[in-house]
Symmetry: C2
Subunit: 311 residues, 2 copies
């Protein structure tokens, strides 16, 4: 069996897959991403040891997805804007702590790998998977192959500049896609609207404003929630049309926490995308909700562990 | 021998290549792109007949590069924002008028083909060629192959939204890359500065403001020209970093009329790009001036004609 770990800006999710690729156990915990790296690494090692016990020691290898720029061969994390894990050799740190062979890749690539192996991108030749969470992760498939680029740094779609925003991205630039169309962008803008106006809103009673609460309020017709959600959809559309204009994929799949909104996301999004396309009466990328939901990252990481262990 | 025609928003350039791929003759004329399509097509046919005479009838086929969205197999132009040739079957129209086998593709793809066969992208695995002219054309090479996308509509990089601009793109959107960083964008913004201020500028004495005049003035230290040129470089950098973040190519090559600026373009551009990269101490795309200059489009179109004629 193999362990898959999906490190996000908000949560760390982990799970075990068996030799047939089935997810047989999963668990999640808060990332506490602003803590020192050593505390986060120790937590991950602790999680792994729990999973080892769960699997009665029958673990062959570990795969880890990281929301940042990873030198995949070395397992070294160059850059990690949403969690304090930059400049760390993740492979070495986890192997040292657990004694298990560990492989590391970008989380968007791994989610796309999972969707391609067992999800919505199975058999698809040209595709983009976007994972909307704390940031925007992505995996890109071109001519049936994962796009890696010249230096393994491709698919950092979340840092594509698409406009001017009221705050800077963690990467230092202004206007990154993920500052408009990630889960945290949706939450941040909603909080801004709540702070800056006296408009009534169902969200004023929420103990904790998360993306789900905003979407639930928007569904109930809450004006403020809808204002924020519409802005989110509009910019998501702009970023997706950029990707269509550059890559012309068969499918754009939406994963991550926000994908739980289902048709409440895809119906207005498709409308926005169609309004921005260069040519309308021509085939263009279909927009679909990813199949594996929040599990894509865990499954992809575990599939990486399985593949590399065999190789 | 084969004829190559490069249709631009400002000029139509054409030439002849021999069987070894050498450009043996070239000529250009204004596009008059706002005229009716039939007048433009007749002009192109007239040009071709001139070239046929020049080549003493030894022409085997014609290749045409179009600044828009082309269904390459049918030779049909779906969309052409900067010249009035949308919704035209270019292949049929030219074959009817000239009796010569004709092949059509997007101009950016053809310029990239030329640079890959005989120019700066020879042997390069992952690359983007940007042609900066009336619009921004592009050709993308991934893993040694021309990127075409699912429907042959990829590489429309000029219509990637990268910010908010003071005027809308011909495509109807606001903020397209080519409204900030093409030749016409540079000219338009300079004219705006001249109109809206009383600042002295060498350009006030110019009979005709073109990109070359602006760059020459900027080189001489003209403040207004430098203000406009800096804005152009900044946005060009933003668009290029978007492409690096998505595609991670080995090389970004700059072609088209603006590429004549040489180091006056690449030196500040590299500085801007480096300031925006996610990771600096890691290999990243080299920025180079394309080798074939304005001839890339003609050579690429003629190479298409040669390839397809043989096939």
């Amino acid at each position: 069996m193999h362990i898959g770990i999906d490190i996000g800006g908000t949560n760390i999710a982990c799970g075990i897959i068996d030799e047939s690729g089935q997810l047989v156990f999963k668990k999640r915990m808060p990332s506490g991403g602003s803590r020192e790296a050593i505390a986060i690494l120790d937590d991950i090692a602790y999680l792994i040891n729990e999973l080892k016990i769960k699997a009665a020691g029958k673990i062959n290898s570990i795969g880890i997805g990281v929301p940042g720029i990873v030198a995949k061969d070395k397992g070294y994390i160059y850059y990690c804007p949403n969690i304090n894990l930059g400049r760390i050799n993740m492979k070495e740190e986890i192997e040292k702590r657990t004694g298990l062979l560990t492989f590391v890749d970008n989380d968007g690539n791994l989610a796309a790998l999972a969707e391609r192996e067992v999800g919505v991108l199975k058999g698809v030749k040209n595709a983009v998977l976007l994972t909307l969470g704390t940031g925007i992760g992505a995996g890109i498939i071109v001519s049936g192959e994962m796009l890696r680029g010249a230096n393994g740094l491709s698919s950092e779609v979340g840092h594509m500049v698409i406009g001017k925003n009221y705050y800077d991205c963690n990467c230092g630039k202004n206007g990154c896609f993920e500052t408009f169309a990630s889960g945290s962008a949706l939450i941040g803008y909603t909080e801004k609207l709540l702070d800056e106006s006296n408009k009534s809103s169902l969200l004023r009673n929420s103990k904790r404003i998360n993306a789900k609460a905003i979407i639930d309020a928007a569904k109930k017709g809450d004006k403020l929630a809808n204002e924020s959600y519409s802005r989110f959809i509009n910019y998501l559309g702009v970023g997706i049309v950029n990707l269509i204009n550059i890559l012309d994929p068969d499918i754009i799949a939406i994963g991550g926490g926000l994908a739980n909104a289902g048709e409440f996301l895809t119906v207005p999004l498709k409308e926005k995308v169609e309004s921005l396309l260069l040519v309308n009466d021509f085939p263009h990328a279909e927009i679909k909700i990813a199949k594996l939901g929040d599990d894509a990252g865990i499954i992809g990481a575990a599939l990486l562990a399985k593949k590399m262990y065999k190789a």
